[in-house]
């Protein structure tokens, strides 16, 4: 009887999607809900919690360190967008050109850094950007007669190190995204444009760019997400969550600091909700602007 029921065509689809429903309910809906409710409480592990209404949120607004963390995450996100979209697009177009020798080799080499773990990559970059004059970057600068820089102690230089790490890891991946986008552009378009006497630049502007739009939107979406949620890169680069003057502190870093290091779970939950709202809003606006919804529905 049960077997007949389970095997019926009506019930089977629910059995198929059941794992997702379970995971969704247990590991997403429930934690998300408890995150929201935690954010209205003063709460510590193993102790009685109390409801405090919006206090956590009002406190966040006046919390200079939190605002610093939001700034850092936002600046990091914007910088990664400015670097990791145009540059990989250009590289993809170049590497895709018929004039390219050794395309596969270059593709693989540029992509390989993405395969290293952030822990390993972060350690390498931490050592490369050391402030001693013998460390890699400073010895390069030394060739040009530039004095050693204390990279990880300054706001701007610290971000240079962070962005160098991000670019190193993601340049190749984003380039591959654009390459797979390029493959979907039919040759005829270019041939037609050539007949009309269009220059290479015109073809890039009028054909490549518009037709790469879906790929660009995809890369933009994941970059916004990854930029806002960045944490481990900073954790590894500064070997801890306490960078000098909090120059490397991110939103998730602050969530970690409050939740794990100081066990203010309620306050940390509020940080998380702010991050969620921020990420959702930015991505919705971005998708609305790029006309994604119209196209899909």
């Amino acid at each position: 009887m049960i077997k007949r029921f389970l095997y019926s065509q009506k019930v089977a689809p629910y059995v198929f999607v059941m794992p997702f429903v379970l995971v969704f309910l247990i590991f997403w809906v429930y934690p998300l809900g408890s995150s929201v409710s935690m954010s209205f409480q003063k709460i510590s592990l193993g102790q009685e919690s109390q409801w405090i209404g919006l206090d956590n949120y009002t406190k966040l607004l006046g919390d200079t360190i939190f605002l610093k963390a939001v700034m850092n995450s936002a600046v990091y996100m914007i910088c990664t967008l400015l670097i990791l979209i145009p540059l990989p697009m250009l590289l993809a177009v170049l590497i895709n050109s018929k004039l390219m020798w050794g395309r596969e080799f270059f593709k693989s080499s540029l992509f390989f850094p993405a395969l290293t773990s952030v822990v390993v990559a972060g350690t390498i970059f931490r050592l490369m950007f050391g402030e001693m004059d013998g460390s890699l970057i400073n010895s390069f600068l030394g060739w040009f007669g530039i004095d050693p820089v204390k990279f990880l102690k300054g706001q701007v230089t610290g971000f240079i190190a962070l962005l160098a790490l991000a670019t190193w890891r993601w340049l190749g991946v984003n380039m591959l995204y654009f390459l797979s986008g390029l493959k979907n552009i039919p040759d005829d378009y270019y041939e037609a444009a050539s007949i009309d006497g269009a220059s290479a630049w015109q073809k890039f502007r009028m054909i490549t760019m518009p037709l790469l739009k879906p790929t660009s939107i995809y890369v933009l979406t994941i970059s916004i997400y990854a930029g806002l949620a960045m944490f481990i890169e900073s954790l590894m680069l500064w070997n801890g969550n306490n960078s000098p003057k909090n120059i490397g502190l991110t939103i998730v870093g602050y969530l970690y600091r409050q939740g794990i290091e100081k066990s203010n779970l309620g306050y940390a939950a509020a940080v998380g909700i702010v991050l969620l709202v921020l990420a959702m809003t930015i991505n919705m606006i971005q998708l609305a602007f790029s006309g994604m919804f119209k196209k899909e529905d």
């Binding site: 193993g46 402030e131 001693m132 300054g154 801890g240 000098p244 003057k245 909090n246 794990i260 100081k262």
Partner: protein, 444 residues
């Protein structure tokens, strides 16, 4: 369909493996490195111990061997886990609050200790096992790990701060370190060193507040007032930073890679002779012997300079309180072993011999055969005997209060304020006022 069968079979095997991993006891494979047998027999109780200093495990290993010999019916196997400073304290804090996954014994650093005393401490009071030794040890080192008369941590050392001078650099500049008594003397010597050698006399620390606590103690002040409220912008604190800032402006001290002498980058800088002085607690000795082999035979230990002659010349710095958690498997065994391993006279002698710390049992300070043992690696490494200096200043060792606000104070000073002052040249009073406001906000 062979293939399908194979896939299903593999999946089942994997699921089983997963379940196995999930539930396997702590005796699982691997990690030989961390279990210390120390001659323990079959019936030994296995206790777990977390620390952020690998050497502390070595000390326990030695003491455990003796313990197991002397207590054949209460033998112990110690399972040591070494984690980085931040991670260990975070994990311990969570484990204690949630009541699961905590080790039986753990090291908690002084700077983090107040966090573990919040509310109802999830730690066992150790008064009963400390009592037999209470008269022999420095009381203030117990007090810093206590709350409401209950002692929760067993100290490792006094941590008397001293000056470590690289005499090679000083001789090159024609400076006699024994003549340095005040900060003014230090400044003059430093200017001479900079002029003659181009090297810096000392460090302007940005990621640790050792120097500030020394200068505060000299003025009879502290980071907090009597009731434990932060007072970071006190006149004494301003004075302390003025002294240091003036030294920095005169090229006597300079910021160092890593931000303070006790970091891996700084060890390198010292080892290659870029800085002549470190003002650090005595336990810095073991960093010299471990990480700065090039300086063997060149480093001399001396009392700290003071603002005015007659001021106390030392302050207890840093420290690790070893605790027994509420969830420990065998609380009494853990407590007894801990007292034995850290408070007995044997233990204190061993703490000096293995770790190079100034033991909390001051009787050991007077045991010439122990402290002046010519075979001791620390005695061999340094130009003069550390205990000659320690005994000179033993009545001048002040201590900094450890209160609930301390971790926050330390965090703000060492990530923000000192960087602003020494790296960015921010006005001292302004920086300290900002710090005070920040600390008060965070403590709300």
């Amino acid at each position: 369909m062979m293939k399908k069968g194979f896939i299903v079979l593999t999946l089942c095997a994997l699921l089983l493996a997963l379940a196995g991993c999930g539930n396997s006891s702590t005796n699982a494979s691997g990690g030989e490195k961390s279990v210390i047998d120390a001659g323990a027999g079959e019936n030994a109780t296995e206790l777990s111990y977390w620390t952020f200093v690998e050497l502390h495990g070595k000390h326990f290993e030695k003491m455990l061997e003796k313990w197991n010999k002397e207590n054949p019916d209460r033998q112990i196997k110690l399972n040591v886990t070494v984690m980085p400073y931040d991670d260990m304290h975070n994990k311990l804090s969570i484990a204690l609050q949630t009541g699961t996954g905590a080790p039986d014994i753990a090291d908690i650093e002084l700077g983090k200790f107040p966090d573990f005393l919040k509310g109802t401490p999830q730690l066992e009071p150790l008064n009963d096992v400390i009592d037999p030794y209470r008269d022999t040890i420095v009381q203030s080192r117990i007090d810093i790990y206590s709350k409401d008369g209950k002692n929760y941590g067993i100290p490792t050392h006094v941590g008397a701060s001293v000056a470590f001078y690289n005499t090679e650099i000083l001789e090159e500049a024609g400076v006699d370190y024994t003549k340095i008594e005040t900060w003014d003397d230090f400044k003059k010597a430093g200017e001479q060193v900079y002029e003659k050698t181009g090297k810096y006399m000392g460090t302007a620390d940005t990621s640790a507040a050792w120097q500030e606590s020394m200068l505060l103690a000299q003025q009879g002040a502290d980071f907090t007032d009597e009731s434990g409220n932060p007072k970071i912008n006190s006149p004494e604190m301003v004075k302390a930073l003025q002294v240091l800032k003036d030294l920095q402006d005169s090229n006597v001290i300079a910021t160092i890679a890593g931000g303070q002498p006790d970091t891996e980058e700084a060890y390198g800088e010292y080892n290659s002779g870029s800085y002549a002085t470190a003002f650090m607690p005595l336990w810095m000795m073991s960093r010299y012997t471990n990480y700065m082999p090039d300086l063997a035979g060149k480093v001399a230990i001396a009392p700290l300079p003071v603002i005015e002659k007659g001021m106390p010349r030392s302050v207890g710095g840093g420290g690790t309180g070893t605790v027994v958690t509420k969830t420990a498997k065998d609380v009494q065994l853990a407590k007894d072993f801990l007292a034995y391993a850290k408070l007995s006279e044997d233990a204190n002698i061993e703490i000096w011999k293995t770790l190079g710390f100034d033991p909390v049992n001051m009787k050991v300070w007077d045991m010439k055969d122990v402290t002046h043992d010519p075979e001791n690696e620390f005695v061999k490494y340094f130009k003069n005997n550390p205990f000659d200096v320690l005994n000179e200043i033993r009545d001048e060792i002040k201590y900094v209060k450890s209160v609930p606000a301390s971790p926050t104070i330390n965090n703000v000073l060492c990530t923000v304020t000192l960087n602003e002052i020494f790296e960015d040249g921010k006005d001292i009073k302004q920086a300290l006022d900002d710090a005070q406001a920040q600390i008060e906000q965070e403590l709300q």
